[in-house]
Amino acid sequence: MFDIFNVYLPIAQQEFNGLILVAIGFAVGVLGGFFGVGGAWVVTPALNIFGFPMAYAIGTDLAHIFGKSIVATAKHRKMGNVDMKLGIWSIIGSVIGVEAGAQVIMWLSTMKIAGGDTLAGPVVRYSYMILLFGLGIYMLYDYATKDKRAAAKAATASMGMAAPKKAWNLPPMMHFPASGITISFWTVMGVFFFTGFLSGFLGVGGGFIRMPALIYLIGCPTAIAVGTDLFSVLFAGAYGCWTYGMKGVVDIVAAIYMLVGASIGAQIGVTAVKYIRGYGIRLLFAIMIILAGASVSLKQAGLNTAAAWVVMGAAMSMCAIIMAKLWAGFKKEKAEKMMMAHQ
């Protein structure tokens, strides 16, 4: 029935359903625009489920991530959510960190374990699981205790006591007007080196690590963390698109179909940021990465198909929640505008 949507992919040299490509692009576009991540960890298993030729999956995914990031970053910039200065520092720090992480992986790859495998594989898989679950649980805890902390802060302020100063004020200090923060250069470089290191070590794009780091370690407002992270993803995506194109593993037709879906999805995801408060974004992100962690655990147990369905199911559900929240926020705003007009 859906065969009428089949398109010929000239580089992969096979037919594939165009509707599936647009749908996957759309779902990842919504998530990417909303959370500020590239979403390669969702796209690759999703393409795998539907039988996309895997040799072309990563390159095609990165090509569409580049196009999608342009859409999402432009829109976030319009909303004042991109701190360009911080974004540029994040790229510089991350690149150095990625190289260091990759070097550690090369070193681990030289160490053999029982069965002829190297130490790198299991170390990376378990680190990945610990990071996803740890980050997700911490963000859930942060969400659950936010009212308690706000009350304690208000009590401190009402007693006329100054809020405790941040411990790391080692000069030179850097000011980021868009984020409204002044922070030590060493903290900025240290944090981005660390997130870059994890990215290089785990072999992932790193958007899902950088976004919470911008919030919890740098102190950015959530919406600015999302926009600034996408700015970094844009540059990484551009390079990924080019280098995988050089290797001949990008199916350009599939990438265009995915980009059409992703660009529309990204507009929706970014617009939703306007209607959901910072802590709401953090809560949804926490749930998403815990489910991604569950998917990695299933993969570790050898249940590859179940793992792919879990991550794709989570992505589709999250996508539906974001769109429902957007619609509710939009209706509310429209009603408020009408009330204002009648008064």
Partner: protein, 97 residues
């Protein structure tokens, strides 16, 4: 002008971490550098893409990067207009945690 140099410099820096991007460690991409795809019987658009792929991977890489950027930009512009028409316009927002 300064912004352009910043962008070029960042692109240069980003050339370093190729090993680590988006793949499992140790996962190797098959060598497609010399691969040729068939061009006979393809429609005009597919023929163009396949011919570029066969002629030079460098040309193909530039083509892919430019097309992704341009298509992304065009769709961003069009969907932005559509969202504006239905009243879902965005401007600078207040940041509430």
């Amino acid at each position: 002008m300064k912004k352009i140099w910043v962008i070029i410099f960042n692109c240069f820096l980003l050339m370093l971490p190729t090993l680590a991007w988006a793949a499992d460690p140790g996962e190797k991409t098959a060598d497609f550098a010399t691969k040729q795809v068939k061009v006979d019987g393809l429609n005009a658009v597919n023929h163009f893409f396949a011919a570029s792929y066969n002629s030079s991977k460098m040309t193909f890489a530039i083509l892919v990067t430019v097309i992704m950027g341009v298509v992304g930009g065009i769709i961003a512009f069009v969907t932005d207009r559509i969202l504006k028409i239905i009243g879902m316009d965005v401007s600078k927002i207040e940041h509430h945690e």
